[in-house]
Every structure is written in C-alpha cells, then in structure tokens.
Subunit: 321 residues, 4 copies
C-alpha cells in the first residue's frame, strides 16, 4: 500500500515523540521528517521501541509531507502552520494557537473528533484540542447538546494530570525529587489557559453555565482524570443515557459502570466515562468522571485520529484503543 | 520528669505505629502497652526508628495507662473504649465510632483541637476526627463561624489522599502494582462515611449549606489535599482574613501565600491553608486549599495533641510542626 | 483466517492477564477459555483494553484448546499440565514446575526461545523460563557458548525487579505504602528459586562457573534489570561481538550502545543488552546490563513467542517489539 | 544556652537545605547565613518545616560563623573553603574537592565520623565523605581493619541511589516523567568519581583488594542501598561479629537481622547493616547490605555530626537517629 508522507514539527517533546511512534507503526503513513532545532542530527528513542533522527525545521521541505503535525510550543506554532500550509501541506496543530477561544481560529475546526467529525474531514487545518479540554468536553458535550444543565449553574471541573502534560522541559519543580510523594493544585483562580477553549465550546452550544476549572499535578507520568460536577435542570432517569445515545458506536469512547482509573486508559486513545448521581444536595446533581491518556487522546492520538479523517483513511488506523 | 503511662490499642496499623513512634519520643509520656491481637509477641519497626512489641489486648491491664489511644477499626473500637474507661483510663478514640454525626457521640467532644480546645481539655474521652474531615473542617470553620458562605450553597470538597488512609490491610487494589501510575475517585455519590462528621459540624455552626465530598486515591503513601470551593454571601475584601483572625497564634495552622503541597506537610502535625478568589463565575466564590499529613494532623498527631491537652501537658509537646 | 483456539489456566494474575490481552489482539489465535477458580464468573479488565470472563478450571473442556498456557502457581501447575496434555492439548507452562534444574523436566524443552528454537518448535510441552533467568541467561549464553568466562570464576548477577514479579497477591509487604520510596534486597544468600534453572543452563553449556544471584525489589510495577559482572578468560577486543554474532537477526534481542533502562523495554517482548569493560581490576572483567519487561519477555510474551513456534505461526505474531 | 553561629555555603541544593533544617532545630547552633548566589534574596521552604532566606556568598562575612559548611559544587568549593578558613572559620566541606584520593586532601581528615573521630575532633577542616562511600566504607571498614578479605579479591559494590543524590539541577533525565517506573545503571566501567575515596581508604587500611563499584538510579527521592559482595580469606563463624565488635556503642550504626530497607533509614542519620553468607560458591563469600539516607548520613547529617565533634558538642545533638 502506498504510504502518505507526513511530517512532525517540534518532535522532541512528549507529544512529538508519541506522534513519531504512532506514525512509524501506521499502515498508511510514513514519516517524511521530524524536526527539533535544539536536537538536530540527534537520534532519540521512541516510546514502545523505535528511533527517530531530528532535523532542523529550516532544513526540511515542509511540502514533502502531505500533512504536517505541529507539536511546537504555543506562540511559536502559528507561524510554522502558515508556512506548512503555504508549502501545500495540510496541518494538524497541537498547540493552542489556533484553537477556538484563542482569537486566531476563524474557520479552523476544533479537533474534538467525535464532536466535529464532518468539519475535520474536509479541513486544510485542524486545531487539536488541549488535554484537559478533551477530557472535560467529551464528557460535557452530551449535556450541552441535550440542554440538561441547570441554567446559570456553575460546572466544577476538578482535574488532575500527570507531569507529561507540562512537557519535556528542565523545570526544577518537575524533577522526580520534587514530584514524588507530592500533590498540588496549580493554575488556580479559574485562570488556566485551557478555560478559553472550554468556554468557547460551551458558548457554541449555547450553554448558560459558568465553568470552574481547577487543575492539579499528580505524581504519575501520564493521564488526566476530570471529576466534573454538574447541577441539572431536572433529575435524569437513566444516568448514562445522554452519553450512551450521543456516543453510540464511537470506537474511542468507553462508557463504564466502574469509576474510570488512569491505568485503564494508559497508552490508549480513548475517553472513559462513568456517571454518578449525588445524594444529599438540594439541586439535582451528577458527577461525570472522565479519564484519558493526556499524550494519546489528549494529544498525539487525537491528532492522528484527525489526520486519518483528513486524509481519507479509516479513523481508527494506527490508534491503540 | 515523671512520665505519664499511655497505651495504644490497635497499634499495628499505620496510625497506631505513628502513635507509638510519637509516644516513644515524647518527653512527658511513656508507652505502657501497645496491642495488636494478630501480631501478639511480634516486634515491629516504627517510623523514624525504634521498635515496639505488641501484646494481645486481653493480656494488658487497660488501667495501667492513664490514657488510652484506640486505633482499633470502626465498629470494634467503641467496646474497647468502654472497657478502658471502666478501667479508669481516659481515652482518645481514633475510630469513627464516637464522632459527631455517628450516633453514639453524646457528650464526647469532637477532637478538632483548634475548634474544641476547652471541651477537650477536661474530657474523659475524645473522638479524634477523621483525616478528610480534619483537612476540610479546619479550612471551613472560619467561614462557618463568620457566616460567610452563601445561604443554601453547595460547598464542593474535592479531596485526594495517599494510600495510608486506607490502612495497612492486604487489599489487592492497594498493591503497589495497582496504585502506581494510577489515580481514581472512590466513595462517590456523596456517600463517604466521613460526610457524617462534616455535616454534623456544619449543623453545629448553623450553616445552611450542602456538602459535596469527592475523595480520590493518590499514588503516594501519605497526605491529603482538599480543594474546597465555596460560594460566598458577599465578596471578601481580604481573602485570608477569616483564617488569619480565627487561627492567630495557632502553632499547627499554617496560612500560606503559595498553594500548599503535600510535601510541605509530610511528617508534620499541621494544616496548611491557602485561599484563592475565583474569576469568571457569577457568584462570588473562593477556593480554599488545605493540606495535611493524614497520619499526623489527620490521625496520630492530632490524637496526641488532644492527649497533651487532656493530661495538662503543653499542647505542642512531642509533635513535629 | 482460521484462528487457533488456546486456553489460559490461572488467568487472573499479572502474567495470565497479559496472556489474555496478547491473545485477544493476536491475528492467529482465539481465546477458548481463561480460568481462575477464585474469580469464576467474574469479568476483569485487561491491560491496554479489553475484558475477560473467568471460568473455573473444572468447568472447561481443556481439549477445546489446541494449546494451553498454564499460569498457575508453582506446585499447582504440573498436574494441570498433565491434564491438558491428556486432553490432547499442547502446553506452555509458565510455572517453575517443569523447568530445567527443577527435577521434573525430562524431555521438556526450556523455553528460552532464542536458545532453544528447534526443540521448542516440535515440542508438545515447553517450560517457560523464569523472569530473572530470562534476563540473565540471554545475556550470558553467548559467553557460555563461546567459552569466554574465566574458568572457576564467580559470575555476579545483581538484579532488580518491579513488584509484578511477585504476582497479584495480597501481601502486606507489597502494598503501595510499603513499597513506594523503598528498595531492598530479598532472597539473599544465593538461595533464590530461580538459581536452579540458571545453574542448570550453565551446566548444559559446560560452563565452569559459580553463579551468585542477588535480587532486589524496585518501587516500579514492571521490569527487570540485571547487572551481570563476568571475569573473562582473556580480554575481549570487540566488547559487543559475542552478542552481535550470536543474536544477529533476532527480532527480540536489542543490542545497545547506551545503558538499557527499564522504560526502554516496558510493554515490549525484548531483551535489551549493553556491555561495558571494567577498569581498575586485575582480572579482565566486563559488565553486561540486561533489561526486560518481566511480564512480557519474562513471562507472557515469551510464552506466546514459544506458542507461535509450536503452532507453526510466525514467531513475531502478536508480540510488541 | 549560648548558640554557636554557623554558616552554609551553597544552601539551595538538597544537602544545603537539609543542613539549614538541621541547624534550625539544633540546640547548640544558630544559622548565621545561608548563601545561594542564584537565589539571593529568595526565601525557600525547608524540609520538615521552616524557611531560609539566601544571601549571596559575596555579601556575607564568612568569619561571622565559627564553622562553615560548604555544600558548593565540586570544583567550586575548594576556593570558598580557603576563604572561610582565612576568615577564621572552621570548615566542613561536603564537596569532593578535599577528600582523600582527590589530590588536595593533605592533612584534612576524611569525615567518616565513626572511623576518624579523633582526627575530626581537633580539625580545622574536614572533608565530608560522598554518599556512596559512606554506605560502602562503613560496611567494609571492619573487614579491612580485621584483615578478613581474601587477598587480591574483587569486592563488588552494587549500589542504588535515589535521585536527590544527583542534586537539585534541571536535568531532563531527572524529570519525574523520565525517572518514574524506570531504573538504570550509570557511571559504569568502574569509573565513578566516588571510587577515588573508596580506593584511598582501602589503601590506608592496607587492603589488597580491587573495588568494583556499579551505581544505579532508583525512582525514589532519597536513600542508598549498597549490596557488597566480599570473598573472605576464611569463613566467618559469627557473621555479624566484625561489625558488632567494631561498632559497639555507636549511636548511628544499626546492625540488623532483617535485610535493611531504605524506608528504615529515611530521614535518619544512620547506617543500617545486615550480613548474609553466600551458599553455592567455591570461595567463602558474604554479602553486606548497607542502607543510608543519602542526604542525612550520606551528606548533611554526617556533616553536622562532624561539626558537633569539632565544636565540642555532644555528637548526637540535633541528629535524627
């Protein structure tokens, strides 16, 4: 089978290396180039085996790839997305630069695959969602769509992420000795960058809600669990019905009776969701628990899922579910 | 100096061994006995050095101790508390059996030391609070006392605990291989046993609130962080003022500008608290972050703090702050 | 393609569940049954997704599988191996019962695939090696075969394993709280059960060596690193030559310049080996570093590798390398 | 009681902060200054509570301290030791610069307290040992002193350390995501810097041995376990006798029947030692297992132990044993 060449910009970080690993195992894609300016010429080990040698971004022909994944940092990515598009490549941008709620996103579909499949399929460029928003919005969308949330309510998204969400950067506070046997909140005051895209999607759905998002840092490498508390307009008779109906047949959405655990989703491109009713409070309230691997469904996996769609490949190709 | 003899029932668990370790280093106390029926005659290593040899509870003279700590399991403790009292000993009960909200607590002070100091001082028996309630209620009490919470509001207590909170019991789901690189909620649906004492204390303060408590299990040995979201009746001008005023001079309450981390409180008998305002929501709202070591301020440390008070010793004696 | 039915006895442990997970993804095999007497009728989550429902061993037709994997405990396995063979099934036994050096192994090939491929191919029953021996013997075999070790020398095998090597059993000393931030030796005095098969293989090769094996317990879930110190009969000119020659073309043997790390081999059916010369000692000496995933190449993966051979399938089928 | 002023140079690292924490709790010492040029003016949290504010080294009067601890990096420390001594302060240097086997150590006692107590007591300057050498040499010294090792033998020191041994530096390979669930050797080929002082001490004792030292990196914050294999000149009748005799009455040496675990020594200024005979090898051989907290007995604790001696204070003052 003819393989479609794809490129990865910013390939030396956690998401970039996951992408390279997924591409190397993909039946329909071949890795045209992987760039990392600070490591040009160096060869790195990939997750689950294999290696990649990095080029400098200036040294590659961007257009030699039919599709380019940009895993460059926020702020730096938008320009390279433009260059890649000018060179004739389609783009999946993993940075926040082009996401809804971030100003520059006009006409660029937000790549929550299960919610935007048709727009993604024909897009020249897709803005891949943030990791926290993926876990929260896949969980919330059925409630938004079906108008189930109490008007004016505050939806609490208390989430915890492994350290790979912070990237592969030499920060003292991310050293093993500072993270092990530790746990803390961060980005508090409802000020985390990821709120933009969560609020923008809620607005797209016309939801009259306030979102209160509190991220925490876990002493684990990968995974995000969002514990989402939702006051309802009226009690639900069948707690799981909104998700069961919305996500019927979705290969990467797992509805579970048991509470999701991060080990259940590690290394997999899935969102696992369970729902619980809340006793002893006056407003009918549910809690939705949503677990993802932040580097898979929260980054590289979903990026590849989107690329599969854009390139006319079967959506599940090359994705561990 | 004459040392007062104290005993520990149920000494082989995490809290019991912490108690033995604290007592062995205490200038005013001596360990009369430590019981663990299943390990009678065995010698165990204590945290931070030292050893203890266990007796069977039936083999010790309960009254040879002036004060008895019961670290027996819930359900089994109440009877031994009665026996110890009948034998003339005062008691600090670390189980839930005699706590407020649990039915059998009449006249028995709830041992949140900073909130009940005078009642504890003269008590024959004190019910030591649960670990989660300690972290949540020390954080919430100033708001309860000063009537700052919006009437009818739901207070969200999203908390995460290290595994020692589940005790030293051979459960498959607590094996290292099942906990490392994992994270999950449990006790959901607002049904955790610790809600009883939290609600009972809120009621004592006349607070018109619903409590929504969601515990999670962290891949760490010890520590609890509670992230508490509180809708206010009116905005606070000085965010930390309620805690600063309420806990002025308290040796074991640490008010911090920085968000508390579990490593900040490890092995220490303190509650560390920071407060943040929440932007972007219609109701004035704050988040209180409260960190404790679940085995210290959340169990053995607070038990000793209470015992110091009951025995007329300086409250801080033998406690790592 | 017609799929060959295989069964797993003792499927509820770590190795058993890995086997079920591998079989469910295997293009040429189908899971006829998975037994776990204590969990009959229960459904368990498998690694990397999927589920399995356990039967009681007495309730299944052993012969409905063409090949049976026994992941039963040492001592209990041999009898079920006999029953499965009597029922007409071929067997890969993951227990120690039938391994070389353990008394009952006559005629049963020792399933270190790369060393015994031809004997395994035609065997009715294969004794799958222990995890430590796999890491040590794949590393040592080229030295044994080529007679490179100093006669009469002591070969030091200092190894460290993740906790899954101890199985999924409710032992207090394997609780998360007892293992995290801890490290210790065990099975000392050169008395670990796995020495039998290591010595037996050395003897088969006619190696005149003493083996000194010291296992340690790591605070990780999976992986074994063996640090093997070998006095040589004469210095090696090309340090990697013995392994490069012996394992040329082997898909599951990785020779590396960099020292192997456990994360390099996690979830993969490989042995990664690096070699270093030792300076400053009188006897020419090398150190061989050998890393495996104890549940993959050290258990389920190698078992499947052997089964592929026995069943005439391509050896690499269904194995993550 | 009058407190003696001491200073800490290079106080922002792991060992420096431990020193500050120990000094703040010390009954006989007061912290005159703590320097960290890159963090001048900043306040840092200390282990187990408390804070310290850093000065620039150029801004402090070195001589305002009676004794200075230098926790500066290797290479940078020697000059500041000279300056401190010129300013009239005595010095404990935690760097390698002045240790035996490192060239510049003439007349400067090597601060393995239990082995060099008298020389340390009167010294103006002491070279505090490395962490690995502390664990290995305290274990080996009785064998050296009593001439028990087989002449010409190779002593294998296979050791594993927590990441704090590498210091608080922003290295990618020490990030939590790179260390968790990982394990690896490093500094191989018998080339680790710490060999110098180990060999030098062996030479001082006249031991005719080769040392083969292999360090490994553990996914824990602190602690070192050395597994030391020693061929003996003749079998030992009473395995523990050499250590029992040599270290009788030593408050910081713990001889144990059970194998030492790192959690046994965490946060404590002790060396815990157990010994096992090795079966099945031709040469009479023992294994000595030696555990320390690398930041306590392996760095700050031993430095304070030496300072106590130098300043005429009780050796155990302020040290957690």
């Amino acid at each position: 089978m003819h393989k479609i060449p794809v490129g990865v910009l910013g390939a030396s970080g956690y998401a970039g290396r996951e992408l390279c690993a997924l591409i190397q195992r993909h039946d329909g894609l071949t890795l045209a180039y992987a760039t990392a300016n600070s490591q040009r010429g160096e060869t790195a080990e990939l997750p689950r085996g294999g290696h990649v040698t990095f080029d400098a971004a200036d040294d590659v022909q961007l257009g030699s790839a039919a599709l380019v994944f940009s895993a460059l940092p926020h702020g730096a990515s938008a320009e390279w997305v433009s260059r890649a598009r000018a060179a004739g490549a389609r783009v999946v941008d993993l940075s926040a630069d082009l996401r809804i709620g971030n100003g520059a996103s006009e006409g660029i579909p937000y790549g929550l695959t299960e919610l935007r499949r048709e727009r993604i399929r024909g897009a020249e460029c897709v803005a891949n969602p943030g990791c926290y928003p993926t876990s929260a919005l896949i969980a919330l969308a059925p409630l938004f769509e079906q108008g189930l949330i109490a008007p004016g309510a505050t939806v609490h998204i208390s989430a915890a992420s492994g350290v790979s969400g912070a990237g592969l950067s030499p920060r003292l506070d991310l050293l093993f000795g500072e993270v092990t046997e530790n746990y803390r909140a961060y980005g508090t005051g409802n000020a985390h960058r990821h709120l933009n895209e969560m609020r923008a999607l809620a607005t797209e759905y016309g939801a009259d809600v306030d979102l209160l998002f509190t991220p925490h840092l876990l002493p684990i490498a990968r995974g995000i669990l969002s514990t989402i508390t939702v006051p309802l307009g009226r009690p639900l008779e069948d707690l799981m019905a909104p998700w069961r109906e919305r996500y019927a047949g979705e290969p990467f959405i797992e509805l579970a009776d048991a509470l999701p655990e991060l080990r259940h989703v590690a290394q997999r491109n899935v969102v696992r969701i369970a729902v619980r009713g809340v006793a002893g409070v006056r407003t009918p309230t549910i809690q939705v628990f949503s677990a993802i691997d932040n580097l898979m469904k929260g980054a590289a996996g979903q990026a590849l899922q989107n690329a599969n769609l854009m390139l006319g490949l079967a959506e599940q190709t090359g994705l561990p579910a």
